[in-house]
């Protein structure tokens, strides 16, 4: 009973933080803006958050964070619209939605697919918020157990997971993470007052600003990609009827929805894992336990539920490592971390202990956001889908104009703009080659955290084993070893498979002689068929019965 009253007093105190007109406005702008941004293919939440970051610095932390969190949480709702209607994911995390959403559209069930996507996203979002509000007291007890060495190990785990998660690009992802770490070290080293990689340039002695890098790599590079590309012709059909039916259909799959939301919450809390792994795991789970696994990828409602529930359960959970430990697990939360830094609030265990109101207020804001977004979408989907028609190159012009606000308003510095343009070109090249960009940002942020925490942790460590003699440090260390071992195993398996493919004798040979002989055989076969046919015309077998 005590727990429940405590819970309600907590909620009351936190709701007080939110009952302000500017927070309400931020909530509205964030939610509707996020849906719009998500619905436009080519503009993701990363672009929007990067552009808005400097503008939020002058606001209250809670207002700024609400806008950014709103965009983060609602963009996936919007992203499912083009994924379902035109087979183009609006944001990167909606890629899995196209697998089952678009086939449903092609058989004339666009409205069913959309309403199912909205309702499962809503369920995922609310489930994770509820789970986290209830777990917050537990987290508040665990968070103080994180000292310097635990935070260092958690950041290390995050970087390793991000690198390993880029399947098939692990090596270059590692190189990019190291690039980020190096970028973060440029400038004056505060502990020893020595310059690092400044090349005697005064504009480098302050270091490379994270926002400039983020704006270049995400916003400007996306503008360049859009300006470089071509416009696509999109045709849309108007949908009739209400979008409420999805909730009823979702209620028939409680197991899949619950499991996917749980995957989303758990994966979101581990830094460096995020939406893709959560989606992958819940989709695989749904396909394996379904009564009709053959439908997956051909318009299965269960597949759609798994994908959309999992990705919307992540944002709330991804805030946990950020708020409790100060460790962002992905690019978007890394950007949000800079909002804290600007206001000299260093998120960490103290934030969870002393300012629980603030944390719970953020979660309540997220819950309100989900409600707002669903109401907005249920009413305005038919008007909203028109944004899909904005031509790509024009969108590129718009992003370029907006990026200027982001970079220039930071310090009114021209060198920042040149630097951002440089990073924009680098980001463009990486996107063209489909190489990973996120490790650069995480390397930059987590590298800085690791440097500080390792230094203070090593001051109290005599032998290497001292480093992991506390329970949480030991658990984290074992997790790191486990992840590395898993990765090594997978690399070995891939290698084995590749070798098997290379040595198998059933593949199409590429050698010139084999091709010649194959060609000869096929020509002879065709010739033989022709001859046979000609001969058969003279002595055609009778098929009549009489």
């Amino acid at each position: 009973m005590d727990l429940i009253t405590e819970f309600f007093t907590q909620m009351g105190a936190s709701a007080g933080i939110l009952a302000r007109w500017d927070v309400a406005l931020a909530l509205l702008v964030g939610s509707i803006g996020g849906v719009l941004i998500g619905a436009i293919p080519g503009v993701g939440p990363a672009v929007a958050i990067a552009i808005l970051l400097p503008a939020t610095f002058s606001m209250d932390p809670i207002v700024g964070l609400t806008v950014l969190l709103g965009i983060y949480g609602s963009s996936m709702y919007g992203g499912s619209i083009p994924a379902i209607l035109i087979n183009t994911p609006g944001t990167a995390v909606n890629a899995l939605t196209t697998y089952d959403g678009y086939p449903m559209t092609t058989r004339g069930e666009a409205r069913r697919a959309l309403s199912l996507a909205y309702s499962s996203s809503f369920f995922g979002g609310m489930f994770s918020v509820a789970a986290l509000i209830f777990f917050a007291p537990v987290l508040a007890k665990v968070a103080p157990m994180f000292g310097s060495r635990e935070i260092f190990l958690a950041a290390l785990l995050g970087i390793i997971l991000v690198v390993v998660a880029h399947r098939k690009h692990t090596l270059i992802a590692a190189a990019m993470a190291c690039f980020g770490i190096w970028l973060g070290t440029i400038g004056l080293h505060p502990a020893s007052y020595s310059k690092r990689y400044t090349f005697d340039q005064s504009w480098l002695s302050g270091g490379v600003n994270l926002i400039v890098v983020v704006l270049g790599l995400f916003a400007l590079s996306q503008a360049f990609v859009l300006l470089q590309g071509d416009d696509e012709n999109v045709t849309l059909k108007k949908m009739k009827g209400s979008f409420f039916q999805g909730f009823r259909e979702l209620a028939r799959h409680p197991r899949i929805a619950g499991a996917s939301a749980t995957f989303g919450v758990v994966m979101g809390m581990i830094p460096g894992v995020g939406e893709f792994t959560a989606q992958f795991m819940s989709y695989t789970y749904a396909a394996k336990t379904s009564k009709r696994p053959e439908d997956f990828g051909h318009g299965s409602s269960e597949g759609l539920i798994a994908a959309e529930t999992a990705n919307n359960a992540v944002p709330a959970a991804a805030m946990v490592p950020l708020l409790a430990l100060g460790i962002p697990g992905e690019a978007l939360t890394a950007m949000m971390l800079s909002v804290f830094y600007v206001h000299n609030v260093i998120p960490g265990p103290q934030l969870f202990q002393n300012e629980m109101d603030f944390v719970v207020a953020l979660y309540i804001a997220l819950a309100l956001l989900n409600v707002l977004v669903v109401i907005f979408l249920l009413v305005a989907t038919n008007q909203l889908i028109k944004v899909v028609k904005i031509p790509n190159k024009f969108l590129g012009v718009c992003i370029l104009i907006l990026s200027f606000v982001g970079v220039y308003s930071l310090r009114n510095s021209f060198t920042d703009c040149i630097l951002a343009a440089g990073f924009g070109i680098l980001g463009f090249i990486l996107k063209r080659l489909s190489l990973p960009i996120v490790p650069i940002i995480l390397g930059m942020v987590l590298g800085g955290i690791m440097e500080v925490k390792l230094r203070s942790a090593m001051a109290r460590v005599k032998t290497p084993l001292d480093f992991i003699d506390r329970p949480i440090a030991a658990i984290l260390f074992v997790m790191i070893l486990f992840v590395l071992a898993l990765h090594v195993r997978r690399v070995m398996l891939d290698r084995k498979e590749r070798k098997a493919q290379e040595w198998s004798n059933s593949h199409a040979s590429t050698s010139f002689e084999t091709n010649l002989s194959r060609r000869k055989a096929s020509l002879l076969k065709a010739r033989g068929k022709q001859v046979k046919e000609r001969r058969s015309t003279f002595s055609r077998r009778s098929t009549d019965s009489d």
């Binding site: 098939k168 190189a175 770490i181 070290t185 690092r196 021209f414 924009g424 390397g443 290698r495 493919q501």
Partner: protein
């Protein structure tokens, strides 16, 4: 050969060129580490100012080299006489060996190592760079135009003012992108006005008033500097 060879979504053009350029830059940065960072006496190993840049740059070189090693590559087809001339290959090996030796003797082995690595990288990249890589590089270079537009915008805003410059820039770039319809040109103008009003007038983002605004009469001048 490579883990990415069979992926149809993975573009091969430009990969070798990017790996080469990135590896060269990383090697040069690694070569500069002694000059650009300090190793302080009496400080713990993990607190050294050189420790984390070392991890960053060292990791860049190591992982990019491994990535390069792992890329799907096609060897350049040399002229026939080179392929058949044993003596040429011997002579070339000898030449690189001598060069490495001379570098090591003059610069010292530690300083020479990155340069030998650099030369080796360039020699190997000569073998594996393909015509398609250069075609891709042309696309990369074409982006400099858009970067130039952006920087021109940045230079001109403090002179001409945020609102006037945006009102010129947005339709001009839209025109450059090949749009001629009146509707889209006007919507670009509208978008520009909207951005200026939201960010400068409403959110009061820091963008300095323009030089041109100084010539405006009193009250209008203040209004322009503050809001547009």
């Amino acid at each position: 050969m490579s883990e990415i060879k069979h992926d149809p979504n993975y573009p091969k053009r430009g990969q070798v060129l990017f790996a080469t350029l990135f590896l060269i830059c990383a090697t040069l940065l690694l070569a500069a580490i002694g000059d650009q960072t300090k190793w302080l006496k009496g400080k713990a190993f993990f607190a050294q100012p050189r420790f984390w840049p070392g991890i960053g740059v060292g990791g860049m070189v190591l992982f990019t080299a491994l990535h390069y090693w792992n890329l799907p590559r096609r060897e350049r087809r040399m002229p026939r006489w080179i392929r058949e001339a044993d003596w040429f290959q011997w002579a070339e090996s000898l030449f690189w060996g001598v060069l490495a030796g001379v570098l090591a003797l003059t610069l010292g082995p530690v300083l020479a190592a990155p340069f030998v690595f650099l030369v080796a990288t360039m020699r190997i990249s000569y073998i594996y760079l393909h015509k398609m890589d250069w075609k891709e590089a042309k696309v990369w270079l074409s982006v400099f135009e858009w970067a130039g537009w952006f920087l021109a915008y940045v230079v001109l805003v403090p002179v001409l003012g945020y609102l006037p410059m945006t009102l010129v820039f947005a339709p001009l770039l839209t025109w450059r992108m090949g749009y001629r319809s009146r509707r889209i040109l006007w919507s670009s103008v509208g978008f520009g006005v909207l951005v200026v009003l939201v960010f400068k007038a409403f959110l009061q983002v820091k963008i300095p008033g323009a030089l041109v605004y100084e010539y405006l009469p009193g009250t209008i001048r203040n209004f322009f500097i503050l809001n547009l």
